[in-house]
Protein backbone atom coordinates (compact mmCIF):
# COMPACT_ATOMS: atom_id res chain seq x y z
CA UNK A 1 0.00 0.00 0.00
CA UNK A 2 1.61 3.18 -1.14
CA UNK A 3 -1.36 5.37 -1.89
CA UNK A 4 -4.31 6.24 0.30
CA UNK A 5 -3.12 4.25 3.33
CA UNK A 6 -6.17 2.07 3.38
CA UNK A 7 -8.58 4.78 2.12
CA UNK A 8 -10.47 2.74 -0.46
CA UNK A 9 -13.43 3.96 -2.54
CA UNK A 10 -16.80 3.69 -0.86
CA UNK A 11 -18.97 1.15 -2.75
CA UNK A 12 -21.46 3.87 -3.77
CA UNK A 13 -18.57 5.98 -5.03
CA UNK A 14 -17.43 2.97 -7.05
CA UNK A 15 -20.90 2.30 -8.49
CA UNK A 16 -21.35 5.92 -9.57
CA UNK A 17 -17.91 6.00 -11.13
CA UNK A 18 -18.37 2.73 -13.03
CA UNK A 19 -21.85 3.85 -14.15
CA UNK A 20 -20.35 6.55 -16.36
CA UNK A 21 -18.82 3.89 -18.64
CA UNK A 22 -21.96 2.11 -19.93
CA UNK A 23 -23.86 5.42 -20.16
CA UNK A 24 -21.20 7.24 -22.19
CA UNK A 25 -20.67 4.07 -24.23
CA UNK A 26 -24.40 3.88 -24.91
CA UNK A 27 -24.27 7.50 -26.07
CA UNK A 28 -21.42 6.78 -28.46
CA UNK A 29 -23.10 3.66 -29.86
CA UNK A 30 -26.39 5.54 -30.32
CA UNK A 31 -24.49 8.27 -32.18
CA UNK A 32 -23.04 5.61 -34.44
CA UNK A 33 -26.49 4.15 -35.07
CA UNK A 34 -27.85 7.63 -35.91
CA UNK A 35 -24.99 8.41 -38.24
CA UNK A 36 -25.54 5.27 -40.30
CA UNK A 37 -29.35 5.12 -40.19
CA UNK A 38 -30.45 8.81 -39.92
CA UNK A 39 -33.14 7.52 -37.52
CA UNK A 40 -33.67 10.45 -35.16
CA UNK A 41 -34.63 8.27 -32.18
CA UNK A 42 -30.95 7.24 -31.84
CA UNK A 43 -30.05 10.90 -31.40
CA UNK A 44 -32.68 11.18 -28.65
CA UNK A 45 -31.29 8.08 -26.92
CA UNK A 46 -27.77 9.51 -27.11
CA UNK A 47 -28.90 12.79 -25.52
CA UNK A 48 -30.52 11.08 -22.52
CA UNK A 49 -27.70 8.56 -22.04
CA UNK A 50 -25.18 11.41 -21.93
CA UNK A 51 -27.43 13.31 -19.51
CA UNK A 52 -27.53 10.21 -17.29
CA UNK A 53 -23.75 9.84 -17.47
CA UNK A 54 -23.39 13.48 -16.39
CA UNK A 55 -25.57 12.87 -13.31
CA UNK A 56 -23.51 9.80 -12.34
CA UNK A 57 -20.30 11.63 -13.21
CA UNK A 58 -21.19 14.70 -11.12
CA UNK A 59 -21.90 12.55 -8.06
CA UNK A 60 -18.72 10.51 -8.58
CA UNK A 61 -16.79 13.76 -8.88
CA UNK A 62 -18.26 14.94 -5.58
CA UNK A 63 -17.25 11.65 -3.94
CA UNK A 64 -13.75 11.93 -5.39
CA UNK A 65 -13.31 15.42 -3.94
CA UNK A 66 -14.43 14.19 -0.51
CA UNK A 67 -11.99 11.31 -0.96
CA UNK A 68 -9.15 13.76 -1.56
CA UNK A 69 -10.09 15.86 1.45
CA UNK A 70 -10.19 12.81 3.73
CA UNK A 71 -7.01 11.31 2.33
CA UNK A 72 -3.79 11.80 4.36
CA UNK A 73 -1.83 12.11 1.11
CA UNK A 74 -2.68 14.85 -1.39
CA UNK A 75 -0.15 14.13 -4.13
CA UNK A 76 0.06 12.00 -7.27
CA UNK A 77 -2.90 9.90 -8.28
CA UNK A 78 -5.02 11.07 -5.35
CA UNK A 79 -5.21 14.43 -7.15
CA UNK A 80 -4.99 13.15 -10.72
CA UNK A 81 -8.06 10.92 -10.31
CA UNK A 82 -10.55 13.76 -9.60
CA UNK A 83 -8.90 15.90 -12.27
CA UNK A 84 -9.56 13.20 -14.86
CA UNK A 85 -13.11 12.90 -13.66
CA UNK A 86 -13.54 16.68 -13.91
CA UNK A 87 -12.15 16.68 -17.46
CA UNK A 88 -14.52 13.83 -18.36
CA UNK A 89 -17.48 15.73 -16.96
CA UNK A 90 -16.67 19.07 -18.62
CA UNK A 91 -16.16 17.48 -22.02
CA UNK A 92 -19.28 15.38 -21.44
CA UNK A 93 -21.28 18.54 -20.71
CA UNK A 94 -20.00 20.19 -23.89
CA UNK A 95 -21.00 17.00 -25.69
CA UNK A 96 -24.52 17.28 -24.25
CA UNK A 97 -24.79 20.83 -25.64
CA UNK A 98 -23.62 19.63 -29.03
CA UNK A 99 -26.27 16.91 -28.85
CA UNK A 100 -28.91 19.57 -28.13
CA UNK A 101 -28.52 20.90 -31.67
CA UNK A 102 -31.37 19.95 -33.97
CA UNK A 103 -31.14 16.90 -36.20
CA UNK A 104 -27.86 16.40 -38.07
CA UNK A 105 -26.42 19.68 -36.71
CA UNK A 106 -25.03 17.59 -33.81
CA UNK A 107 -22.99 15.47 -36.21
CA UNK A 108 -20.20 14.53 -36.74
CA UNK A 109 -18.81 16.54 -33.78
CA UNK A 110 -21.17 14.80 -31.37
CA UNK A 111 -19.99 11.32 -32.33
CA UNK A 112 -16.31 12.28 -32.06
CA UNK A 113 -16.84 13.86 -28.65
CA UNK A 114 -18.82 10.84 -27.47
CA UNK A 115 -15.88 8.54 -28.24
CA UNK A 116 -13.37 10.85 -26.51
CA UNK A 117 -15.58 11.25 -23.44
CA UNK A 118 -16.12 7.48 -23.25
CA UNK A 119 -12.34 6.90 -23.31
CA UNK A 120 -11.85 9.56 -20.62
CA UNK A 121 -14.50 7.85 -18.47
CA UNK A 122 -12.64 4.54 -18.89
CA UNK A 123 -9.34 6.12 -17.80
CA UNK A 124 -10.94 7.84 -14.80
CA UNK A 125 -12.57 4.60 -13.70
CA UNK A 126 -9.38 2.64 -14.24
CA UNK A 127 -7.39 5.05 -12.06
CA UNK A 128 -10.09 5.11 -9.44
CA UNK A 129 -10.40 1.35 -9.17
CA UNK A 130 -6.82 0.31 -9.83
CA UNK A 131 -5.21 2.66 -7.39
CA UNK A 132 -7.69 2.76 -4.57
CA UNK A 133 -9.72 -0.43 -4.84
CA UNK A 134 -13.30 -0.84 -3.73
CA UNK A 135 -14.73 -1.36 -0.28
CA UNK A 136 -11.48 -2.33 1.38
CA UNK A 137 -10.90 -5.23 -1.04
CA UNK A 138 -7.28 -4.24 -1.52
Amino acid sequence: MTVGSGRTLHPIHGALLAGTIPLFLGGALSDYAYSVSYQIQWANFASWLIAGALVFGALALLCSIIHVIRSPHRGGLVIIYPLFLLATWILGFINSLVHAKDAWASMPTGFTLSIIVFLLACISTWIGFAKFGVGGAR
Partner: protein, 439 residues
Protein backbone atom coordinates in the same frame (compact mmCIF):
# COMPACT_ATOMS: atom_id res chain seq x y z
CA UNK B 1 -53.66 17.05 -23.54
CA UNK B 2 -53.58 20.38 -25.30
CA UNK B 3 -50.51 21.78 -23.66
CA UNK B 4 -46.91 21.01 -24.38
CA UNK B 5 -46.13 18.13 -22.14
CA UNK B 6 -43.04 18.51 -20.05
CA UNK B 7 -42.02 15.22 -18.60
CA UNK B 8 -40.73 15.63 -15.08
CA UNK B 9 -37.43 13.89 -14.96
CA UNK B 10 -34.67 13.52 -12.45
CA UNK B 11 -32.12 14.81 -14.93
CA UNK B 12 -34.10 17.75 -16.14
CA UNK B 13 -34.00 19.78 -12.91
CA UNK B 14 -30.22 19.67 -12.88
CA UNK B 15 -30.13 20.59 -16.54
CA UNK B 16 -32.42 23.58 -16.17
CA UNK B 17 -30.03 25.16 -13.70
CA UNK B 18 -26.94 24.51 -15.75
CA UNK B 19 -28.55 25.61 -18.99
CA UNK B 20 -29.97 28.82 -17.54
CA UNK B 21 -26.49 29.77 -16.38
CA UNK B 22 -25.10 28.89 -19.79
CA UNK B 23 -27.72 30.87 -21.66
CA UNK B 24 -26.90 34.02 -19.73
CA UNK B 25 -23.33 33.65 -20.95
CA UNK B 26 -24.44 32.92 -24.51
CA UNK B 27 -26.60 36.03 -24.62
CA UNK B 28 -23.65 38.31 -23.99
CA UNK B 29 -22.81 38.61 -27.70
CA UNK B 30 -24.34 41.01 -30.18
CA UNK B 31 -26.42 40.33 -33.25
CA UNK B 32 -25.32 42.30 -36.24
CA UNK B 33 -28.39 43.98 -37.68
CA UNK B 34 -29.17 43.02 -41.24
CA UNK B 35 -31.58 44.59 -43.70
CA UNK B 36 -33.81 41.70 -44.50
CA UNK B 37 -36.76 43.17 -46.30
CA UNK B 38 -37.99 42.48 -49.76
CA UNK B 39 -37.33 40.03 -52.54
CA UNK B 40 -33.55 39.67 -52.14
CA UNK B 41 -32.68 39.62 -48.44
CA UNK B 42 -29.07 39.43 -47.26
CA UNK B 43 -28.44 35.85 -46.12
CA UNK B 44 -25.38 35.40 -43.89
CA UNK B 45 -23.68 32.03 -43.40
CA UNK B 46 -25.45 29.69 -40.97
CA UNK B 47 -23.97 29.83 -37.47
CA UNK B 48 -24.76 28.32 -34.11
CA UNK B 49 -22.72 28.38 -30.92
CA UNK B 50 -22.88 25.73 -28.21
CA UNK B 51 -26.11 27.33 -27.05
CA UNK B 52 -28.78 28.94 -29.22
CA UNK B 53 -29.31 32.65 -28.61
CA UNK B 54 -32.43 33.05 -26.52
CA UNK B 55 -33.95 36.27 -25.24
CA UNK B 56 -37.34 35.94 -23.64
CA UNK B 57 -38.87 39.34 -22.96
CA UNK B 58 -40.46 39.23 -19.51
CA UNK B 59 -44.20 39.96 -19.61
CA UNK B 60 -45.50 43.12 -17.94
CA UNK B 61 -49.03 44.57 -17.83
CA UNK B 62 -50.06 47.44 -20.13
CA UNK B 63 -51.28 49.57 -17.21
CA UNK B 64 -52.32 52.92 -18.70
CA UNK B 65 -50.03 52.51 -21.68
CA UNK B 66 -51.41 52.03 -25.19
CA UNK B 67 -49.78 50.79 -28.38
CA UNK B 68 -48.42 53.50 -30.69
CA UNK B 69 -50.23 54.05 -33.98
CA UNK B 70 -49.61 56.43 -36.90
CA UNK B 71 -50.99 59.96 -36.99
CA UNK B 72 -54.61 59.97 -38.08
CA UNK B 73 -55.37 56.79 -36.15
CA UNK B 74 -56.42 56.03 -32.58
CA UNK B 75 -56.23 52.75 -30.71
CA UNK B 76 -58.37 51.24 -27.97
CA UNK B 77 -59.11 47.90 -26.35
CA UNK B 78 -62.43 46.49 -27.47
CA UNK B 79 -62.30 43.25 -25.47
CA UNK B 80 -60.21 42.03 -22.56
CA UNK B 81 -59.92 38.97 -20.31
CA UNK B 82 -60.05 36.70 -23.33
CA UNK B 83 -58.54 33.23 -23.25
CA UNK B 84 -55.60 33.38 -25.66
CA UNK B 85 -57.11 35.21 -28.66
CA UNK B 86 -55.36 34.35 -31.93
CA UNK B 87 -57.31 35.11 -35.09
CA UNK B 88 -60.35 37.26 -35.83
CA UNK B 89 -62.81 37.90 -38.63
CA UNK B 90 -65.21 40.76 -39.20
CA UNK B 91 -68.70 39.52 -40.12
CA UNK B 92 -70.90 41.33 -42.69
CA UNK B 93 -72.89 43.13 -39.97
CA UNK B 94 -69.70 44.40 -38.30
CA UNK B 95 -69.61 41.84 -35.49
CA UNK B 96 -66.17 40.43 -34.73
CA UNK B 97 -65.47 36.76 -34.06
CA UNK B 98 -62.38 35.86 -32.04
CA UNK B 99 -60.82 32.37 -32.04
CA UNK B 100 -59.30 31.56 -28.66
CA UNK B 101 -57.13 28.58 -27.92
CA UNK B 102 -53.74 27.06 -27.40
CA UNK B 103 -52.91 23.73 -29.00
CA UNK B 104 -50.09 21.30 -29.58
CA UNK B 105 -49.19 18.13 -27.72
CA UNK B 106 -45.59 17.69 -28.75
CA UNK B 107 -43.70 15.67 -26.12
CA UNK B 108 -40.22 16.64 -25.01
CA UNK B 109 -37.85 14.27 -26.78
CA UNK B 110 -34.48 15.48 -25.55
CA UNK B 111 -33.27 17.19 -22.35
CA UNK B 112 -33.05 20.31 -24.54
CA UNK B 113 -36.82 20.26 -25.18
CA UNK B 114 -37.52 20.25 -21.45
CA UNK B 115 -35.27 23.25 -20.89
CA UNK B 116 -36.29 25.25 -23.97
CA UNK B 117 -39.98 24.63 -23.23
CA UNK B 118 -39.53 25.92 -19.70
CA UNK B 119 -37.74 29.06 -20.89
CA UNK B 120 -40.11 29.88 -23.77
CA UNK B 121 -43.15 29.47 -21.50
CA UNK B 122 -41.85 32.44 -19.51
CA UNK B 123 -42.66 34.68 -22.50
CA UNK B 124 -46.27 33.59 -22.98
CA UNK B 125 -49.53 33.95 -21.10
CA UNK B 126 -50.36 31.66 -18.19
CA UNK B 127 -54.04 31.73 -19.15
CA UNK B 128 -55.45 28.45 -20.43
CA UNK B 129 -56.73 28.53 -24.01
CA UNK B 130 -60.49 29.08 -24.27
CA UNK B 131 -61.19 26.56 -27.07
CA UNK B 132 -64.04 28.80 -28.09
CA UNK B 133 -65.21 31.61 -30.37
CA UNK B 134 -66.17 34.90 -28.76
CA UNK B 135 -68.43 37.39 -30.56
CA UNK B 136 -67.96 41.14 -30.09
CA UNK B 137 -70.68 43.61 -31.13
CA UNK B 138 -70.81 47.37 -31.38
CA UNK B 139 -74.52 47.87 -32.09
CA UNK B 140 -74.56 51.69 -32.09
CA UNK B 141 -71.28 52.13 -33.99
CA UNK B 142 -69.60 54.28 -31.33
CA UNK B 143 -66.45 52.16 -31.33
CA UNK B 144 -67.30 50.54 -27.99
CA UNK B 145 -68.04 46.83 -28.34
CA UNK B 146 -70.60 46.57 -25.62
CA UNK B 147 -71.53 42.95 -26.27
CA UNK B 148 -69.00 40.21 -25.58
CA UNK B 149 -70.52 36.76 -25.68
CA UNK B 150 -69.43 33.17 -26.32
CA UNK B 151 -70.50 32.23 -29.84
CA UNK B 152 -69.32 28.61 -29.69
CA UNK B 153 -67.36 26.54 -27.20
CA UNK B 154 -65.81 23.10 -26.73
CA UNK B 155 -63.73 23.53 -29.84
CA UNK B 156 -60.19 22.17 -30.08
CA UNK B 157 -57.69 25.04 -30.28
CA UNK B 158 -59.59 26.94 -33.02
CA UNK B 159 -57.41 29.25 -35.11
CA UNK B 160 -58.28 29.93 -38.76
CA UNK B 161 -61.68 31.50 -39.52
CA UNK B 162 -63.51 32.08 -42.80
CA UNK B 163 -67.05 33.02 -43.76
CA UNK B 164 -68.59 32.03 -47.10
CA UNK B 165 -72.25 33.03 -47.43
CA UNK B 166 -73.90 31.36 -44.45
CA UNK B 167 -71.09 28.91 -43.80
CA UNK B 168 -68.72 29.79 -41.00
CA UNK B 169 -65.57 27.67 -41.26
CA UNK B 170 -63.34 27.12 -38.25
CA UNK B 171 -59.97 25.35 -38.40
CA UNK B 172 -59.49 23.47 -35.15
CA UNK B 173 -56.02 22.07 -34.53
CA UNK B 174 -57.26 18.64 -35.66
CA UNK B 175 -60.21 19.22 -38.03
CA UNK B 176 -61.91 21.71 -40.30
CA UNK B 177 -65.42 22.46 -38.99
CA UNK B 178 -68.47 24.32 -40.35
CA UNK B 179 -71.17 26.21 -38.51
CA UNK B 180 -74.40 27.42 -40.07
CA UNK B 181 -74.35 31.19 -39.66
CA UNK B 182 -77.23 33.65 -39.93
CA UNK B 183 -76.46 37.35 -39.93
CA UNK B 184 -77.04 38.83 -36.51
CA UNK B 185 -76.61 35.55 -34.70
CA UNK B 186 -74.80 35.80 -31.36
CA UNK B 187 -74.64 32.11 -30.56
CA UNK B 188 -74.11 29.11 -32.80
CA UNK B 189 -77.20 26.93 -33.28
CA UNK B 190 -75.40 23.76 -32.29
CA UNK B 191 -72.27 21.75 -32.65
CA UNK B 192 -70.37 22.25 -35.91
CA UNK B 193 -70.19 19.69 -38.71
CA UNK B 194 -66.81 18.25 -39.61
CA UNK B 195 -65.62 18.89 -43.17
CA UNK B 196 -62.42 16.85 -42.83
CA UNK B 197 -59.77 15.83 -40.34
CA UNK B 198 -56.52 17.77 -40.45
CA UNK B 199 -53.04 16.39 -39.68
CA UNK B 200 -52.71 16.63 -35.90
CA UNK B 201 -50.22 13.99 -34.72
CA UNK B 202 -47.74 15.68 -32.34
CA UNK B 203 -48.73 19.15 -33.65
CA UNK B 204 -45.39 20.79 -32.86
CA UNK B 205 -46.73 23.71 -34.91
CA UNK B 206 -50.42 23.31 -34.15
CA UNK B 207 -52.06 26.40 -35.69
CA UNK B 208 -54.28 25.67 -38.69
CA UNK B 209 -54.62 28.84 -40.71
CA UNK B 210 -57.55 29.22 -43.08
CA UNK B 211 -58.75 31.16 -46.11
CA UNK B 212 -61.61 30.57 -48.57
CA UNK B 213 -61.22 30.97 -52.32
CA UNK B 214 -62.97 33.98 -53.83
CA UNK B 215 -65.79 31.81 -55.19
CA UNK B 216 -66.08 29.90 -51.89
CA UNK B 217 -65.60 26.54 -53.54
CA UNK B 218 -62.25 25.75 -51.94
CA UNK B 219 -60.79 26.22 -48.52
CA UNK B 220 -57.06 26.59 -47.99
CA UNK B 221 -55.58 25.33 -44.73
CA UNK B 222 -51.99 26.05 -43.66
CA UNK B 223 -50.39 23.13 -41.80
CA UNK B 224 -47.11 23.79 -39.98
CA UNK B 225 -44.15 21.42 -39.77
CA UNK B 226 -43.82 18.99 -36.87
CA UNK B 227 -40.36 20.24 -35.88
CA UNK B 228 -37.90 23.08 -36.28
CA UNK B 229 -35.78 21.18 -38.78
CA UNK B 230 -36.79 17.47 -38.82
CA UNK B 231 -35.51 16.77 -35.29
CA UNK B 232 -38.69 14.76 -34.66
CA UNK B 233 -37.87 12.51 -37.59
CA UNK B 234 -39.01 12.51 -41.21
CA UNK B 235 -41.99 10.22 -40.50
CA UNK B 236 -43.55 12.97 -38.37
CA UNK B 237 -43.46 15.32 -41.36
CA UNK B 238 -45.97 13.42 -43.52
CA UNK B 239 -48.66 15.91 -44.61
CA UNK B 240 -46.91 18.76 -42.78
CA UNK B 241 -45.35 22.06 -43.85
CA UNK B 242 -47.87 22.60 -46.62
CA UNK B 243 -51.11 24.26 -47.64
CA UNK B 244 -54.04 21.99 -48.36
CA UNK B 245 -56.77 22.84 -50.83
CA UNK B 246 -60.01 21.38 -49.51
CA UNK B 247 -63.26 21.06 -51.46
CA UNK B 248 -65.85 22.74 -49.26
CA UNK B 249 -68.59 20.37 -50.46
CA UNK B 250 -66.88 17.00 -50.20
CA UNK B 251 -64.00 17.60 -47.81
CA UNK B 252 -61.58 16.07 -50.33
CA UNK B 253 -58.12 17.58 -50.10
CA UNK B 254 -54.86 17.83 -52.02
CA UNK B 255 -51.56 19.58 -51.31
CA UNK B 256 -51.75 23.01 -52.94
CA UNK B 257 -48.19 24.08 -52.17
CA UNK B 258 -45.47 22.39 -50.09
CA UNK B 259 -42.20 23.17 -48.30
CA UNK B 260 -43.82 26.02 -46.35
CA UNK B 261 -42.42 25.48 -42.83
CA UNK B 262 -45.17 27.16 -40.84
CA UNK B 263 -47.83 28.99 -42.85
CA UNK B 264 -49.41 30.80 -39.90
CA UNK B 265 -51.88 33.00 -41.75
CA UNK B 266 -53.53 32.91 -45.17
CA UNK B 267 -55.53 35.50 -47.05
CA UNK B 268 -56.92 36.07 -50.54
CA UNK B 269 -55.84 39.11 -52.54
CA UNK B 270 -59.13 40.88 -53.38
CA UNK B 271 -58.34 42.04 -56.94
CA UNK B 272 -56.69 38.85 -58.18
CA UNK B 273 -58.13 36.05 -56.02
CA UNK B 274 -54.54 34.88 -55.40
CA UNK B 275 -53.74 33.08 -52.15
CA UNK B 276 -51.11 34.80 -49.97
CA UNK B 277 -49.45 33.53 -46.82
CA UNK B 278 -47.07 34.58 -44.08
CA UNK B 279 -44.67 31.79 -43.19
CA UNK B 280 -42.34 31.34 -40.21
CA UNK B 281 -38.96 29.96 -41.15
CA UNK B 282 -36.45 27.79 -39.28
CA UNK B 283 -34.47 28.67 -36.15
CA UNK B 284 -31.06 27.99 -34.65
CA UNK B 285 -28.78 28.93 -37.54
CA UNK B 286 -28.17 32.52 -36.49
CA UNK B 287 -29.88 35.81 -35.61
CA UNK B 288 -30.31 36.75 -39.28
CA UNK B 289 -31.40 33.39 -40.68
CA UNK B 290 -33.85 32.47 -41.98
CA UNK B 291 -36.15 35.42 -42.86
CA UNK B 292 -39.84 34.84 -42.21
CA UNK B 293 -41.74 35.81 -45.30
CA UNK B 294 -44.85 37.01 -47.07
CA UNK B 295 -45.57 35.28 -50.34
CA UNK B 296 -48.18 34.60 -52.94
CA UNK B 297 -48.72 30.84 -52.84
CA UNK B 298 -48.15 29.29 -56.24
CA UNK B 299 -50.12 26.15 -56.98
CA UNK B 300 -47.90 23.05 -56.98
CA UNK B 301 -44.81 24.98 -55.87
CA UNK B 302 -42.21 23.70 -53.38
CA UNK B 303 -40.77 26.36 -51.08
CA UNK B 304 -37.81 24.41 -49.71
CA UNK B 305 -38.53 23.19 -46.18
CA UNK B 306 -36.80 21.21 -44.85
CA UNK B 307 -34.10 20.68 -47.47
CA UNK B 308 -33.38 24.29 -48.33
CA UNK B 309 -34.34 27.87 -47.45
CA UNK B 310 -35.02 31.01 -49.48
CA UNK B 311 -34.91 29.08 -52.69
CA UNK B 312 -32.02 26.67 -52.93
CA UNK B 313 -29.81 27.42 -49.91
CA UNK B 314 -29.22 23.90 -48.56
CA UNK B 315 -29.84 23.25 -44.87
CA UNK B 316 -27.10 20.87 -43.75
CA UNK B 317 -29.05 19.75 -40.70
CA UNK B 318 -31.37 17.54 -42.74
CA UNK B 319 -30.47 13.91 -43.41
CA UNK B 320 -30.94 12.27 -45.80
CA UNK B 321 -30.48 15.22 -48.15
CA UNK B 322 -32.56 15.52 -51.32
CA UNK B 323 -30.72 17.45 -54.02
CA UNK B 324 -33.55 16.82 -56.49
CA UNK B 325 -36.04 18.49 -54.13
CA UNK B 326 -33.66 21.43 -53.57
CA UNK B 327 -33.40 21.87 -57.33
CA UNK B 328 -37.17 22.34 -57.54
CA UNK B 329 -37.43 24.84 -54.65
CA UNK B 330 -38.55 28.38 -55.41
CA UNK B 331 -37.87 31.52 -53.35
CA UNK B 332 -40.80 33.33 -51.73
CA UNK B 333 -41.80 36.90 -52.64
CA UNK B 334 -40.94 39.16 -49.72
CA UNK B 335 -38.73 38.77 -46.62
CA UNK B 336 -40.12 40.21 -43.40
CA UNK B 337 -36.95 39.68 -41.32
CA UNK B 338 -35.61 36.67 -39.41
CA UNK B 339 -37.41 35.45 -36.29
CA UNK B 340 -40.11 38.20 -36.34
CA UNK B 341 -42.74 35.41 -36.12
CA UNK B 342 -45.40 36.72 -38.50
CA UNK B 343 -48.73 35.26 -37.32
CA UNK B 344 -51.29 37.49 -38.99
CA UNK B 345 -51.90 38.88 -42.48
CA UNK B 346 -54.73 40.74 -44.17
CA UNK B 347 -55.12 42.93 -47.24
CA UNK B 348 -55.98 46.55 -46.64
CA UNK B 349 -58.64 48.60 -48.37
CA UNK B 350 -59.44 52.17 -49.28
CA UNK B 351 -61.15 52.92 -45.97
CA UNK B 352 -57.74 52.77 -44.23
CA UNK B 353 -56.70 56.02 -45.92
CA UNK B 354 -54.48 56.78 -48.88
CA UNK B 355 -51.13 55.85 -47.32
CA UNK B 356 -52.37 52.48 -46.10
CA UNK B 357 -54.90 51.63 -48.81
CA UNK B 358 -52.78 49.34 -50.99
CA UNK B 359 -50.88 46.63 -49.17
CA UNK B 360 -51.06 44.11 -46.35
CA UNK B 361 -50.92 44.34 -42.60
CA UNK B 362 -48.72 41.75 -40.88
CA UNK B 363 -48.90 40.89 -37.17
CA UNK B 364 -45.50 39.92 -35.74
CA UNK B 365 -45.55 37.92 -32.51
CA UNK B 366 -41.85 38.57 -31.86
CA UNK B 367 -38.63 36.60 -31.57
CA UNK B 368 -37.03 34.29 -29.02
CA UNK B 369 -34.03 33.01 -31.01
CA UNK B 370 -32.19 36.34 -31.04
CA UNK B 371 -30.27 38.49 -28.57
CA UNK B 372 -31.92 41.72 -29.72
CA UNK B 373 -35.62 40.93 -29.99
CA UNK B 374 -37.39 41.77 -33.26
CA UNK B 375 -41.03 41.74 -34.28
CA UNK B 376 -43.47 42.54 -31.45
CA UNK B 377 -45.40 44.90 -33.74
CA UNK B 378 -47.81 45.17 -36.64
CA UNK B 379 -46.30 46.36 -39.92
CA UNK B 380 -47.81 47.50 -43.21
CA UNK B 381 -46.20 46.20 -46.39
CA UNK B 382 -47.07 48.57 -49.24
CA UNK B 383 -48.09 47.04 -52.58
CA UNK B 384 -47.95 48.39 -56.09
CA UNK B 385 -49.51 46.67 -59.11
CA UNK B 386 -50.51 43.78 -56.90
CA UNK B 387 -46.95 43.07 -55.64
CA UNK B 388 -45.09 44.12 -52.48
CA UNK B 389 -43.20 47.35 -53.15
CA UNK B 390 -40.99 49.06 -50.61
CA UNK B 391 -40.02 48.65 -47.00
CA UNK B 392 -42.48 47.69 -44.30
CA UNK B 393 -43.94 50.59 -42.33
CA UNK B 394 -44.50 50.27 -38.58
CA UNK B 395 -48.24 50.43 -38.00
CA UNK B 396 -48.79 49.35 -34.39
CA UNK B 397 -45.79 49.39 -32.03
CA UNK B 398 -45.12 49.79 -28.31
CA UNK B 399 -45.66 46.13 -27.46
CA UNK B 400 -42.34 46.19 -25.59
CA UNK B 401 -41.74 48.87 -22.97
CA UNK B 402 -38.62 51.00 -22.60
CA UNK B 403 -37.13 48.44 -20.18
CA UNK B 404 -37.46 45.67 -22.73
CA UNK B 405 -40.38 43.98 -21.01
CA UNK B 406 -43.25 42.73 -23.12
CA UNK B 407 -46.73 44.19 -22.71
CA UNK B 408 -48.33 42.28 -25.53
CA UNK B 409 -47.73 40.08 -28.54
CA UNK B 410 -49.71 40.65 -31.75
CA UNK B 411 -51.16 37.65 -33.57
CA UNK B 412 -54.04 37.88 -36.07
CA UNK B 413 -54.82 41.11 -37.92
CA UNK B 414 -58.10 41.82 -39.72
CA UNK B 415 -59.12 44.89 -41.68
CA UNK B 416 -62.59 46.14 -40.76
CA UNK B 417 -64.19 47.71 -43.88
CA UNK B 418 -65.33 50.59 -41.67
CA UNK B 419 -61.71 51.77 -41.61
CA UNK B 420 -60.11 49.97 -38.70
CA UNK B 421 -57.58 47.25 -38.00
CA UNK B 422 -58.44 44.53 -35.49
CA UNK B 423 -55.36 43.12 -33.71
CA UNK B 424 -55.47 40.07 -31.41
CA UNK B 425 -52.94 40.15 -28.55
CA UNK B 426 -52.36 36.70 -27.00
CA UNK B 427 -50.12 37.87 -24.15
CA UNK B 428 -52.36 40.62 -22.75
CA UNK B 429 -55.42 38.58 -23.86
CA UNK B 430 -57.10 41.61 -25.41
CA UNK B 431 -58.32 42.76 -28.83
CA UNK B 432 -57.00 46.10 -30.07
CA UNK B 433 -58.89 48.22 -32.59
CA UNK B 434 -56.92 50.81 -34.54
CA UNK B 435 -59.39 53.27 -36.05
CA UNK B 436 -58.79 55.81 -38.79
CA UNK B 437 -59.92 59.21 -37.61
CA UNK B 438 -58.84 61.22 -40.65
CA UNK B 439 -56.47 64.19 -40.26
Amino acid sequence: MKHSQIYPHAFSKLFVGIALAGILVACAGNDPEAEQYGANPTLPKPQRGLLPNMTIAEPTPWGDALPKVPQGFTVSTIASDLKVPRQTIVLPNGDILVAEGKGGNAPALKPKDVIAGYIKAKGTTKVKGGDRLTLLRDADGDGVYELKTVFAENLNAPYGLALVDNNLYVANQDALMRFEYREGQTKADGAPAKITDLPSEINHHWTKSLAASADGRFLYVGIGSNSNITERGMVAEADRAMVWEIDAETGAHRPYATGLRNPTALTIQPETGTLWAVVNERDEIGPNLVPDYLTSVKEGAFYGWPYSYWGQNVDERVRPQKPEKVASAIAPDYALGSHVAALGVDFSEASMGEEFADGVFVGQHGSWNRKNPVGYKVVFVPFSNGRPAGEPIDFVTGFRDENGKTRGRPVGVTVDPKGALIVADDLANVIWRVVRTGQ
